[in-house]
Amino acid sequence: MIEVEDLLFHYRDGVELFRDFSFRVNRGEAWTIIGPSGCGKSTLLFLFAGLNKPVRGKIMVGGRRITRARPSTGLVLQDHGLLPWATVENNTRLGLKVRKFYGPDGKHSPAGMQLNEDEDDKRVNHWLSWLGIDNLREMYPSQLSRGQRQRAAIARTLVLQPDLLLMDEPFSALDAPIREELQKVMNSFHLQSGLTSVTVTHDIEEAVVLGEKILVLHDPCNCQPVIRENHLSGNIDKRNSPEFIDRCEELRDILGSGSGTGRAGGPVFP
């Protein structure tokens, strides 16, 4: 689904976040990316989304080289990004409206897209009720709790039937109980849909709960991907099992060992 080949990336400050970085995400896998702040984990996600461009190397998504935002990739950010002046329902419909606005041009919307109002209505209703917010459809974002806003943002993305779901720290602004609830929601969603997903997090437990595979990033520069297979994902109730705690411990060790060797984050001037 995602292939990264010999990626080189830095922002204008010149600090290389990735060099000769290669790895792949297969269709149907649920990945998490974890690392300290400034390690480039959100940058990598934005590269997948086509919102950042590689300096060198190549990123393929769905078999095509990615140069701009891809219509069938869904993106959920930490800051829900809902329109403050639109109700939950209208926010959920926003992506559909944008697609209708452009028509099936293959650039802003999938080329083979069919416009079907009934079908759209059904999907909006389906995801609103699946996420448990169909009773809030007439509310504005300012009237919702943070968890409800994030549910609306997820509904808005899923309505577009993405084949890849990217999430950047989607639950890190939420209180623990709400966060766990949404992790459960995403677990059962992955189980049902088998959608390929990549979730960026700085929370070790969340990485283990959501990721069948966990990519661990370090302070720049990242060259060799550190990947952990994780069969404990998808079962938040195992969180107190010794196995789960060991896995978190292991990740903590990997994260700890990397921080001393890499270059410190922040701009470095030659």
Partner: protein, 252 residues
């Protein structure tokens, strides 16, 4: 959340206003402050005649200025808000021009544009123009990056961003700017209409009534101008209530 003005509270305000006027008329007890009991019936009678024409002339000028200013300032504000580099160049100029009272250019505009309605409309439009320009620019520039990114991730390019983000984001700001600047606009109109015209409430109040000591008639003109300001204010306010529903809901 903004506070909603209710019909009852507005009615209460009107009642208190007339009561206060009546009390002051009784207290001052001179021809320069006639009682509303004299002025209001006279106003209702005259508004159907000559006074009505003066009212329409004034209202037309303000409305024309509002439309012209909005059509020019809103797109420019949107553009500046999205182009921080351009804004850094012209921003300081706007910051200087914005607080200058535009009325002082009255003679200049008269000479340059001639003694037509156009010059009066231009003067008022200039005032509203800067108000709208500044709020729309700030609104467009203040949209959070995350919001733009997430709408982009839904497939929106520049055109869809305009249609679904920038325009709906700036309409409430335009309405608020109009509502707060409409009072100044009417005040400037009053001054601009005192000369070089033969229609308009400003002309009626100063030339036709005040200078010939027709105080009750003068007050009908004053009432006309007051009504004009109040009507415009509440007309814009009611559009705001409809368009900016999200600002009037309970929330955090």
């Amino acid at each position: 959340m903004k506070k909603k003005a209710t019909f009852l509270s507005t009615l209460g305000g009107v009642a208190m206003f007339f009561l206060l006027w009546q009390l002051m008329a009784l207290f001052v007890n001179r021809p320069i402050l006639p009682s509303p009991l004299v002025v209001v019936p006279l106003f209702l009678q005259n508004i159907r005649g000559e006074l009505g024409l003066h009212f329409l002339a004034s209202a037309g000028r303000v409305l024309a200025a509002i439309v012209a200013a909005t059509l020019l300032a809103a797109p420019l504000g949107l553009a500046l808000g999205q182009m921080p580099r351009l804004d850094r160049v012209v921003g300081p100029l706007i910051a200087i021009l914005y607080p200058i009272p535009k009325i002082i250019f009255l003679p200049v505009i008269y000479v340059l544009m001639g003694i037509t309605d156009l010059s009066k409309i231009t003067l008022i439009a200039t005032i509203i123009f800067f108000q709208i320009l500044v709020v729309v620019r700030d609104e467009a520039a203040g949209l959070r990056k995350e919001l733009i990114l997430s709408v982009k991730s839904l497939g929106a390019g520049r055109r869809a961003l305009f249609r679904y983000v920038y325009i709906p984001a700036s309409i409430p700001a335009i309405l608020t700017a109009l509502r707060v600047s409409v009072g100044t606009a009417v005040a400037v109109l009053f001054i601009a209409e005192q000369s070089l015209t033969s229609y308009g409430l400003g002309y009626y109040i100063v030339i036709e009534t005040y200078q010939v000591l027709l105080y009750p008639e003068m007050y009908t003109g004053i009432m006309g101008m007051g009504v004009l300001g109040v009507l415009l204010y509440f007309a814009i306010y009611s559009i705001e209530l409809k368009v900016s529903k999200h600002m009037f809901v309970d929330g955090d």
